[in-house]
Amino acid sequence: MPDWLVKNQPYSPPPDKDQFINKSILSILRILSKLKSQSGYQMDKFQVNAALKVAFTFLLVILLSLSTSYTFILVVDVYLLVVLSLMEGKEIVKILSVSLAMAIFTFMILLPNVVLGNTYTSMMITLKVLSTLIAVNILSHSTRWHSITSALRRFGVPNIFILVLDITIKYISMLGDFSLNMLYSLKLRSVGRNNNKYASMAGISGTMFIKSKEMAEDMYAAMECRGFTGEYTVHNKWKWSMADLLYILKTVAIITAFLYWGRI
């Protein structure tokens, strides 16, 4: 046992700027917590089939883009706010903050247009952006990503594309966990001044690359062992429920509103 190891280490760390490790840890934690919240019980709580939700959101985005009626957009906004109010407080804050930030950004870009007198058009575009973002965010927060990718099968998206999407989501989570632990390790071992911070980050990136390559190879080998020959079938069990019927009725109401106010 070397002498230095049995003695206490008198040590005073020199000052250094290393906020980047903490910031990187926080940003990965945010992504991971978002992915983990996807497995929560609250997801799919309205019990509406994901394919219907995806189709309706797509349709709503198209109707919002086509509409020239201020009333229709306000009606859609009211509907979206009602749906939003049924969600959890944290989700409401997340959805509204993202959507409002983008809407404000759009409005600022359109500000010269407002100054020139085109207030109505500018407000319309801003409201359309806000409504579209709220609708898409509601879909993303109330439906599991796996359900969304499976629903894509209904719209003719090739199975292999769905497989790639599913695996991507899985790998973001797994490699995210791995990179988080690497950053934790870097943080714990960064006990002094590091003049080559970016070299450490490059080392982490390199290790991540090797790890992801190994994981991909292992997964392909495991898939082959389980009989994978390049064909991937997504199984969708469609079961009608009362919630689905109500959802369709609501969709019909929105289309009717579009046609009715579209004429005005």
Partner: protein, 248 residues
């Protein structure tokens, strides 16, 4: 040295630790036992300051460890130098181009000159018996070799406390035996060693004191290891062993 009072922690509403009261003296060797998901790894992260308790107090060397204090870079670095953490997956701990640089990472940061760094790295390489691959890339090493390099990296900082998260996982019996002996040597040299493990065959040699976690994420027993291992009903109740234990 380490003092936890009524510490609780939860991940977004999921309880991971509940009302933990724990005191560990300097120079002790302690094993954390428990079924998967009982909170052992969370406790180790908490002891390292990677997580902060939602409730309760964590004191290290009579100083309360709070998120606010850990935000102070000087305090945080001093604290992390005193507590070394060996991760369960050694891959996550190794990010330098070769083993020498990997072990030298900490001492260089501590402001040592290159000759001091070289001495410390070589001492660590000798201590762990890994001198032969000091210029190899860490990601090309075997699981046992990576674990030795990870331990060397942490030892190079000369921490007062060494925390190991399931260090026996993925190691062959010979390397497991070597690791147990090595940790005992470090403990005899005055280091505080805290280990989480599932290995009931080696735990008695690893530590004199064992802390058992139950599925309610609390401490079910804090006893001398020998006594705890005799309480077979308790081990069964916390789902650490099944009916076939003790194995014959």
């Amino acid at each position: 040295m380490i003092d936890l009072k009524e510490v609780s922690y939860s991940y977004e509403g999921t309880i991971a630790l509940k009302n933990i009261n724990l005191h560990i003296e300097k120079g002790e060797a302690v094993a954390l036992l428990g079924a998967n998901g009982t909170g052992k790894s969370t406790l180790l992260k908490l002891l390292n300051g990677l997580l902060s308790p939602n409730q309760g107090v964590y004191r290290f060397n009579h100083q309360e460890i709070t998120p606010k204090k850990l935000k102070d870079p000087i305090f945080s670095k001093k604290f992390h130098q005193k507590i070394g953490f060996v991760f369960q997956n050694s891959d996550t701990q190794l990010f330098c181009p070769d083993v020498y640089d990997e072990i030298a990472f900490g001492p260089r940061q501590m402001g040592m000159n290159e000759s001091e760094v070289a001495k410390r790295v070589n001492d660590c390489l000798d201590l762990l018996g890994i001198q032969s691959f000091k210029h190899r890339q860490p990601y090309h090493l075997s699981g046992g070799e990576k674990r030795k390099v990870a331990i060397a990296c942490v030892l190079a900082l000369n921490p007062e406390v060494l925390i190991l998260d399931e260090p026996m996982n993925g190691l062959d019996p010979r390397t497991q035996r070597w690791l147990v002996d090595f940790l005992a040597t470090l403990n005899q040299a005055g280091k505080t060693v805290i280990t989480s493990t599932h290995n009931l065959d080696l735990v008695q040699e690893l530590s004199k004191r064992a802390i058992l976690f139950d599925e309610s994420h609390g401490i079910a027993a804090d006893l001398p290891t020998e006594t705890l291992l005799e309480k077979i009903d308790l081990l069964k109740r916390v789902n650490l062993v099944d009916e076939s234990y003790p194995f014959h």
